[in-house]
């Protein structure tokens, strides 16, 4: 031995850091487990066991002539960041292809953390654009699209505010759904749009966890049952809270205004 660039705790630390970041940016379960496993094996492990679910990671490394070492990691925030996913995937390939020292690996991870993303306002405009174009796609007219754009933009402002206050996602989606429906109905009341349901469906697309449902089914089919069920229940909860939120103004305002 002695030729390996990382000690066992350091290796495990790097593997867990990569796995954790992967989970946080929305990678599939098998990708997290496989990446961590491959990193461990590339750095002289005799065997490695990685178990990942959306909320935590457990990893054990066995190196020859050493006692096995285990680490756990709790994941609290989850989102989608495809750029980071791409960079992490490239990093894990690079770590396997050419051995890096611990400090070098840390430096590479820091580079990924510091990679610039889109600006706040770009994201807000993108939210508006999603709502507007889906409204058009689902058969809304130009007026509907303009209203949906405004709704999407405001929605992002509210979502951002909730994120800062660390509100749970169920409540955030409930309020989001209510906001969308209330705004669409108000626009209909003011005579701006006729088909307010198109505005609602288009705007809901910004929140809908459709992909979480699909991903959870992928996990289930791949045999990652616990991860699949976790994601499925999250998706179901989000979907239900959007629907519940939207139904409040729909029933109340439609009754009041007789739309």
């Amino acid at each position: 031995m002695g030729q390996l660039p990382m000690t066992t705790p350091q290796l495990l630390e790097v593997a867990v850091q990569v796995g954790r970041r992967l989970l946080e940016c929305g990678a599939e379960t098998y990708r997290v487990e496989e990446s961590m496993h491959r990193i461990c094996m590339a750095y002289g492990a005799r065997d490695a066991h990685v178990y990942a679910v959306p909320t935590s990671i457990i990893a054990t490394v066995e190196r020859p002539e050493e006692a096995p070492l285990t680490r756990t990691c709790r994941i609290r925030k989850r989102g989608v960041n495809l750029d980071r996913l791409d960079r992490l995937n490239a990093l894990s390939r690079r770590l396997c292809a050419q051995m890096q020292a611990y400090d070098a690996a840390q430096e590479l991870l820091r580079e990924i953390d510091d990679a610039p993303g889109y600006g706040k306002w770009t994201l807000r405009l993108a939210f508006g654009a999603i709502a507007a174009f889906f409204t058009l796609l689902f058969g809304g007219g130009a007026a509907c699209a303009v209203v949906a754009f405004a709704v999407g933009l405001c929605l992002k402002l509210v979502v951002d505010a909730f994120e800062r206050m660390e509100v749970n996602s169920m409540f955030a989606n409930l309020v989001g759904g209510a906001l969308i429906a209330a705004a669409a109905l108000t626009a209909a009341r003011l005579g701006l749009v006729e088909r307010y349901d198109r505005v609602i469906i288009g705007s809901i697309m910004t929140l809908v966890p459709g992909l979480a449902i699909t991903n959870s089914m992928r996990d289930l089919i791949a045999g990652d049952f616990l991860a699949g069920i976790t994601k499925f229940s999250e998706a179901l909860l989000i979907g239900a809270s959007i629907a519940a939120g939207a139904s409040i103004p729909l029933s109340l305002l439609r009754y009041l205004w007789r739309i």
């Binding site: 495809l82 889109y118 889906f134 089914m217 992928r218 959007i242 139904s247």
Partner: protein, 145 residues
């Protein structure tokens, strides 16, 4: 003409989704083109397939194959393209309709719409898994991952 307009809308919506999902600029157009392709396939499938679940399935297979090709070409995970290109097919309207029927006090209709929505999600999942498993099968045989 209408089809062209819808496809353009799908492209633009996917482009915006790409930004929200933090996809890098260079890859945005490729991912959004997948979304447009998926929607086009979904609409064109209407000429041959009568069940809309079959249509969703066919469109998903097209999108998945496209994503796998892009992933091979640019050496990135296929899900980068898949996640965005599938969004127009996600049944957001189904969720709305389920809620609407539930609220209007017709639980039977709500269950039927809800199951239909789950069926669409299932068709999407089966389509993705089918293509990605087939691709993996060939890759293992070639001896490269």
């Amino acid at each position: 003409m209408h089809l062209l307009f819808e496809t353009a809308c799908a492209f633009a919506a996917c482009l915006a989704f790409g930004v929200v999902f933090h996809l890098r600029r260079g890859k945005l157009a490729g991912a959004a083109a997948g979304g447009a392709l998926g929607w086009l396939a979904f609409r064109l499938a209407a000429y041959g397939l009568h069940s809309d679940i079959a249509r969703y399935f066919a469109a998903t297979v097209v999108v998945s194959i496209y994503s796998e090709c892009m992933a091979r070409h640019f050496r990135t995970p296929a899900s980068l393209y898949l996640v965005i290109a599938l969004i127009p097919l996600v049944p957001g309207g189904g969720i709305y309709d389920t809620m609407e029927t539930c609220m209007l006090g017709s639980p039977q209709e709500a269950v039927a719409t809800g199951l239909h929505t789950v069926g669409i999600a299932g068709a999407l999942a089966v389509g993705i898994v089918l293509v990605s498993s087939t691709v993996q099968l060939f890759h293992k045989r070639v001896g490269r991952r």
